[in-house]
Amino acid sequence: MATENAGGGPVEYIQHHLTNLSVGEGFWQLNLDTVFFSILLGAVIVLVAMRIGRSLRAETPNGLQNAVEGVLEFVDDQVRDSFGGRAPKIVAPLALTILLWVWLMNFMDLIPVDLLPAIASGLGIEYLKVVPTTDLNTTLAMALFVFALTIYYSIKVKGLGGYIKMFLFHPFGKFLIPLNIVMTTIDELAKPISLALRLFGNMFAGELVFLLIALLTLGASISASLLIWFPLQVVLDMAWIAFHILIITLQAFIFMVLTIVYIAMAHTLDEH
């Protein structure tokens, strides 16, 4: 490893990188960087969408419109596969939002870990965590919204009685009602929690690996050992970026598909 005493040491370096720029304390802590970057990326999506929307052509779609149409078609296919045609109107836009937005937020992971924080510190901002999906608040917020939608559609489709019955008689029939309540509650709660933690965990771990790779030459002086560590760092970084491109896409896709599946499951009348 590189020098331990320069730059405040690896632990401090990592902790610095994992600290949000925030205001407020405890529950009232608002992570400004998370909110800023997620809104920024959302704005990018909306602006690009508006730009495409200005020059929509039905007969001869241009390059960008083609690409977006491809994504739209892909999302629509996923929704159709799960719902078999009769999906509520919110599902497809919701899935599209998740795919695009989560992917873009994950993409922030691929920007060199020290680049934006360094610029920010140059501007006098001490902490900056650029990947919104490495903040559990972001992933859990989306997961909870999806969870709320599944409850809403469960009650809408099955009725309130049907929804309660699902807790009472699922999965072990009517003789183990107390156990059923516990099991179904765990089952239901596991959905949003796993949804949130999967994305958060993957992105957080990915960020951490980038930080560890960055640590290889952190604060290193010009010396012979740098000749070994620097090429190794470059190779490792490239390998991890290549792999991470796959992960960010996969995680965005998984989040979208699971959202569709959970809402589709809420529409099935009898789960037995």
Binding site: L18, N20, S22, G24, G26, F27, W28, Q29, L30, N31, T34, V35, S38, I39, G42, I45, V46, A49, M50, I52, G53, L56, A58, E59, Q65, V68, E69, L72, E73, D76, I90, A92, P93, L94, L96, T97, L100, W101, P132, D135, L136, N137, T138, L140, A141, M142, L144, F145
Partner: protein
């Protein structure tokens, strides 16, 4: 790292994003794609219909052509029979005319013959009278008489 008010902010941002994505991306583009799908389907069915109509028109045109040919053949046959008929009539007319002319000529000839006979008869009578005169001027004998008569007869 902990759950905080950021979650609420992100939740609001998420809901807003869904609304915005739906308004600016999903709704216009999916409407456009749906319209295009419909247009393509319409175009395909129209072309199918056109093909069908073309086939019908072709069938109809061949039918018309066949009818026209039939009609033309009929007309030609009719004209042929009519010309034959005219020819036949003309031939018949010529024949009757010729017969009429021949008959007329025959009657003419008969009449001429009769006239000639009549003339001859008057001449014979004249000759007979002259002969009788001459005979009577001479001595009338049976013999003479007889010879005169036979002479007459021979002259007739």
């Amino acid at each position: 790292m902990s759950i905080s008010i950021t979650l609420l902010a992100q939740l609001i941002a998420f809901v807003l994003m869904i609304w915005l994505v739906n308004k600016y991306l999903w709704a216009p583009l999916s409407a456009l794609m749906e319209a295009r799908r419909k247009k393509i389907a319409d175009g395909l069915s129209a072309s199918e219909r056109g093909k069908h109509e073309l086939k019908l028109a072709q069938e109809r045109s061949t039918e018309l052509l066949r009818e026209a040919k039939d009609k033309a053949n009929d007309i030609i046959a009719q004209a042929n029979s009519r010309s034959n008929q005219i020819l036949e009539e003309a031939r018949d007319n010529a024949k009757t005319e010729a017969e009429r002319i021949v008959a007329q000529a025959n009657t003419e000839i008969d009449r001429e013959v009769n006239r000639a006979k009549e003339e001859l008869r008057t001449q014979v009578a004249d000759v007979a009278a002259t002969g009788a005169e001459r005979i009577l001027k001479r001595e009338v004998t049976d013999k003479d008489h007889e010879s005169a008569i036979s002479d007459l007869i021979a002259r007739i």
